[in-house]
Symmetry: C2
Subunit: 342 residues, 2 copies
């Protein structure tokens, strides 16, 4: 395990000069620079990050907290964040909240605070007041994605607007018998996104002067199989069923499309389907959807966080509430079409 002393000895300079040369912060004579670089290379020297952290107070490490990994939105965003952090010389420590309350407590009360990370990225995780207070006490900035974080910065799309935009697309095509698959307002997700998307749907329907048929609104667990089952229920009576369905996620839309197919309904001739996400399989399914570009959201969040960390004063690292709205776009493909009697 070669240390800085050995490099200094081989290069014939002090450890201070080695440190300066290798970090490239202070000026070092070209000659010393070269000697140090040669020595470091020859010995295969890599600085110990714990020693550097202890001396500087910076870990060059970001904690990422999320509730799932094995879901499209999360895995895409995680991959983008990781690449972006590495590019900026940061490591990523992963904290998955799937382990329940006890694990969450451990993560927020111990791990994140063990001076292990310089900042936190919270993906669809809403810290409690106490959790945030702890972070503030340590001057650890946190940036949220996938939902607004109370008392801190976040980047998130407007779920109500997304639901409304999707529904209005169906309305614009002449549909009036519009169902919805997704979460109802009381769903206990971290931010109630499912509910928010429902509100957008309800708002659009109301503005169009239409009433919602409650038999055509189905709660669902955001999975393909779940939506498949639920979608079939919407069509128990083909003489009285929706001509269009808004699904609160693309995966549910895939399930709905498959269910329709298996019932002998043609999409979009007999049924229009629109989702939210722009999943990487949406093009394959020809799904019209609301794109939310998670990879770009992730990169933007990394930039926000690193910009804060670049500020020299610790007070500037304090968390302040600041919502940045992420733009949302309708992508029209083959799963939606003008209403036609079937």
């Amino acid at each position: 395990m070669v240390g800085i002393e050995e490099v200094a000895a081989l290069a014939g300079v002090s450890t201070a000069t080695v440190s300066r040369a290798l970090r490239g912060k202070d000026h070092v004579s070209a000659k010393a620079q070269a000697k140090v670089e040669d020595a470091a290379r020859e010995l295969g020297y890599v600085a110990s990050s714990s020693a550097a952290t202890l001396a500087t107070g910076r870990t060059q490490n970001i904690g990422v907290v999320l509730p799932y990994i094995d879901r499209w939105f999360f895995s895409v965003i995680l991959e983008a964040i990781e690449t972006e952090l590495i590019d900026h010389g940061y490591d990523l420590t992963l904290y998955n909240l799937s382990g329940g309350e006890k694990q969450r407590k451990k993560i927020f009360d111990e791990l994140l605070l063990r001076k292990r990370v310089d900042g936190v990225l919270a993906i669809a995780v809403n810290p409690t007041e106490a959790e945030l207070a702890n972070l503030n006490r340590m001057h650890k900035p946190i940036v949220g994605i996938g939902g607004p974080v109370k008392g801190a910065r976040s980047i998130t799309m407007d779920d109500v607007a997304a639901g409304k935009l999707a529904t209005e697309h169906l309305l614009s095509l002449g549909h009036t018998r519009i169902g919805m698959i997704g979460g109802l307002p009381n769903a206990d997700e971290e931010f109630g996104q499912p509910g928010l998307r429902y509100y957008g749907y309800a708002e659009a329907m109301k503005e169009a002067g239409l009433t919602i048929n409650e038999n055509w609104v189905a709660e669902c667990d955001f999975t393909i199989p779940g939506a498949y089952v639920v979608a079939k229920q919407l069509f128990t009576d083909l003489r009285n069923s929706p001509s269009a369905v808004f699904c609160a996620s693309d995966e549910m839309a895939f399930g709905a499309i498959m269910a329709a197919k298996d019932l002998g309904l043609e999409v979009p001739k007999d049924l229009s389907v629109v989702g939210i996400d722009d999943h990487n399989l949406s093009e394959f399914y020809g799904l019209s959807t609301i794109a939310q570009k998670p990879a770009e959201q992730g990169r933007a969040a990394v930039k926000t966080l690193l910009d804060i960390l670049a500020l020299p004063n610790a007070e500037d690292h304090d968390n302040v509430e600041e919502k940045k709205e992420w733009p949302v776009k309708l992508v029209v493909r083959a799963s939606t079409a003008k209403f036609a009697k079937r």
Copy 2:
């Protein structure tokens, strides 16, 4: 930022006693223990991990290296590993290799060696000799999953056996016109799994005295859309097409099933399909497949790695080649049936 000194002062003991009480390693009198715990709680003290690492040489952190996150196998295994590590008091630092050669070099030559991790878990990543030599120099154990690691321990299923088992299942049902979708032997994946699975298929066919029809073997990128396209090609001439297809992954099997459906073929009446993985959607698709249980593989790898790290002598941390075969099981569902003329 409260440190150990403040806790010691409040508890009226030395920092040595605080450390001992909080780590629970050496014996401490019940009275001192209580005083320290109270003081630590009152101050919200959490030890600095960089200081602890510097003093002990242990980071309590494991580096996980993988080529993708946004793929079923990888996200499932990652989630399982993370939970298991947290349970054992370890953090997980994520290194995704999707950033190309330069990023890989940075990861293996700098990040992993910055004394940041105690050990490495490599998922479907095969370190080069030089990369492994670096790890060995630092006495960092590495355990591989999803492919054998040359010169180190690994847990991996036998891809040839899996391909053979899947093909034999089709043979046992009376099929002789068996196609395959997946990688050909020359595919440049890290370990050539695609090729290995093909060899299993070829071996089974040969042992059954059958020759392979090259028009029925299609290379594919392991995605659903890719397999959909390729599967349709297998059925350009329905009078002369396979009655069964072995797909080297479940996602490709899903694509094949959809393609068959869209062509008006019934699965399994007109076409039997078998995959490899036991993807979480396989039950939904009724897919017969070879289960490889990535979450369990991940947990087993964590156990192997932590067991090594628990050995007190640094030499015991050295890497030795040791392949542990992961058992594989055929799961029969609704996508395979006895051969029948169509």
